[in-house]
């Protein structure tokens, strides 16, 4: 195969990636878009096996490419790990899997850059060394940062910001060291400085993500995703592959826009999230659990309240997904609709653990799309709503986001359930939400709490309602 044909096929893969991103931007074409992306990646990968790249002095080489057994074996292992993980993961745990996949991609890019650097030796041009340094630094940050986001989402470690005294100086110091060693590699070349650089970058990735609070984690995943894209583009430069430059740049650019859109949906400033590490102050330990009266009710009380309502808004949160109660909540909604009650689901943009996560989970339970109302649609209707049922959500309905400047979620748009005539919270306990903030609404006189597992509680409410 001539170099021209090889490059042309690479270009067609690049076009597939553009069409994939375009397709993924609209609900109708999203699935097809993803498949086009997979097609592009398959074409790009398959073609290397049929192209013998000439030596740099022009001497032709022959097929099959060297180390073919190792290459195919490694791909088989990767497939055997990746496919079952992707097939078996529960939809509730999907955000952390995406974080993990992104991390290993960043790690792969860093390894590719290191190997290419080893084999180029002193023949590397300054531009190539700079691109290598960039790939190693950003790839390693993406790798270790993603591992930390994975651990936060999997709750293997605390979801709260981890801040230690003098933390910002440690982070700033590490960053200075990374930049210094980067300069050292460019000037002095050599394997040892590059490995030191990789180690420092891994450390920086950990320090960079630790102070990020639970609610901001999705933004960081999206940002690290864009980072990994840029490392792929830089590798494309070093390896002289136009396809990799196009693919990496597309992901880098679209990932940056996506990160900004997510930050806007959550009412966070991107800058604040990024440099949270430098501004975060150790949080004061929140006051000991106050013994304040709350009004808790029985499933029968809830059923009666619902039975005489004209309009009910269901606000699902991550707790609903954890309890696997999507199907039960749909049963409840169907029952209410059969009684002539107006029912809508109020979906906060970041309900669940990632923007759009809750829509995926409810779609899994076959909830009709028309009943899902986005925040801007549903908020003005809470005034005419008799009952708002909050199931396993907390932060997204916490009025503190509007009333308490300085609290971690201040400024985040919320579902204004406090405007409804009655609010019912289905909760496992009085434990605060993912962001770790007390919710005043729980103590409001018009609020009724139904403690217990969301699925068990809903099942009881459904049977009580059937009996009325």
């Amino acid at each position: 195969m001539s170099t021209f044909v090889y490059d042309l096929i690479g270009l067609s893969a690049g076009i597939c990636f553009v069409l994939a991103l375009k397709g993924l931007s609209s609900p109708k074409s999203a699935r097809r878009g993803n498949l086009i992306g997979a097609l592009g990646a398959t074409i790009a990968t398959a073609v290397i096996f049929f192209y013998a790249k000439p030596e740099s002095d022009g001497t032709p080489t022959s097929l099959p490419i060297e180390n073919l057994g190792w290459i195919l074996g490694a791909m088989a292992i990767g497939t055997l790990i990746g496919v079952p993980a992707a097939k078996k993961v529960q939809m509730t745990q999907m955000p952390q899997l995406v974080a993990l996949f992104n991390g290993v991609g960043g790690g792969a890019a860093a390894l590719v850059a290191i190997v290419e650097y080893l084999s180029l030796g002193n023949d590397a041009t300054t531009a190539e060394v700079i691109a290598t340094v960039f790939t190693v630094v950003v790839g390693c940050v993406s790798f270790s940062g993603s591992i930390i986001t994975f651990m936060k989402l999997q709750e293997l470690m605390t979801t709260r910001p981890v801040v230690f005294p003098g933390g910002r100086f440690v982070i700033a110091g590490t960053l200075v060291a990374v930049l210094g060693v980067s300069g050292w590699v460019v000037v002095a070349l050599g394997t040892t400085p590059l490995l030191i650089l990789a180690a420092l970058s891994l450390l920086f990735g950990i320090l960079f993500v630790l102070p990020v609070g639970g609610a901001d984690v999705p933004i960081v995943i999206s940002l690290l995703n864009a980072f990994t894209g840029l490392t792929v583009a830089a590798s494309g430069y070093v390896l002289d592959s136009t396809m990799l430059i196009i693919a990496g740049t597309l992901v880098g650019a679209s990932g940056t826009i996506l990160t900004r859109m997510m930050a806007e949906a959550m009412g966070r400033s991107l800058f604040g999230t990024l440099f949270g590490a430098f501004t975060a102050k150790p949080q004061e330990a929140s006051g000991a659990a106050e013994e304040r009266p709350v009004r808790s009710g029985s499933p029968d009380d809830v059923a009666i309240l619902l039975n005489y309502a004209r309009r009910v808004v269901i606000v699902p949160g991550f707790g609903l997904a954890v309890a696997q109660a999507q199907h039960t909540v749909r049963e409840l909604a169907d029952l209410l609709i059969a009684k002539g009650i107006d029912v809508a689901y109020g979906i906060h943009p970041v309900a669940g653990r990632m923007p759009g996560h809750m829509n995926v989970l409810l779609a899994e339970a076959n909830v009709p799309y028309e009943q899902l109302a986005e925040m801007d649609e549903v908020n003005p209707t809470f005034g005419q709503t008799d009952v708002a049922i909050v199931i396993g959500a907390n932060d997204v309905v916490n009025p503190a986001a509007e009333t308490t400047p300085g609290c971690p979620i201040y400024g985040m748009p919320i579902l204004q359930v406090s405007n409804a005539a009655n609010v019912i919270f289905l909760k496992r306990s009085m434990r605060p939400g993912f962001a770790g903030i007390e919710n005043e609404l729980l103590y409001d006189p018009k609020t009724m709490l139904l403690f217990g597992d969301a699925k068990a509680s809903l099942t009881k409410v459904v049977s009580a309602l059937k009996g009325l």
Binding site: G78, L97, N102, L111, V115, T249, V251, G255, M261
Partner: protein, 96 residues
């Protein structure tokens, strides 16, 4: 390759990347992120290229590790994105 050609490709790809995702409803943020994540798994191509000209055991070992990681990223990424999007199927039927 000419530096100006590389810079042109890069700059134009940035604009295309900005444009194609500029209007996406929050419903699709997660699948879009996951799909873009799978696309950067094509670093697999880079990993295979470096593996094919690895001469020392160190180089080969590192590039084999890179291939494993990149394959997980690429194939796992596309499969999990497809699973996510499969759930939106139900509503398409109703739209018809």
């Amino acid at each position: 390759m000419e530096p100006i050609a590389i810079i042109s490709i890069f700059v134009l790809a940035v604009f295309v990347g900005f444009e194609v995702v500029s209007k996406v409803s929050s419903t699709l943020h997660t699948p879009l992120m996951s799909g873009a994540n799978a696309i950067h798994g094509v670093i697999l191509v880079g990993a295979i290229i470096v593996a094919s000209h690895s001469e020392t055991n160190l180089e080969l070992g590192l590039s084999v590790a890179a291939i494993i990681l990149a394959t997980i990223n690429m194939i796992g990424g596309f499969v999990v994105t497809d699973r996510m999007l499969e759930m939106f199927k139900g509503k398409k039927k109703e739209a018809k």
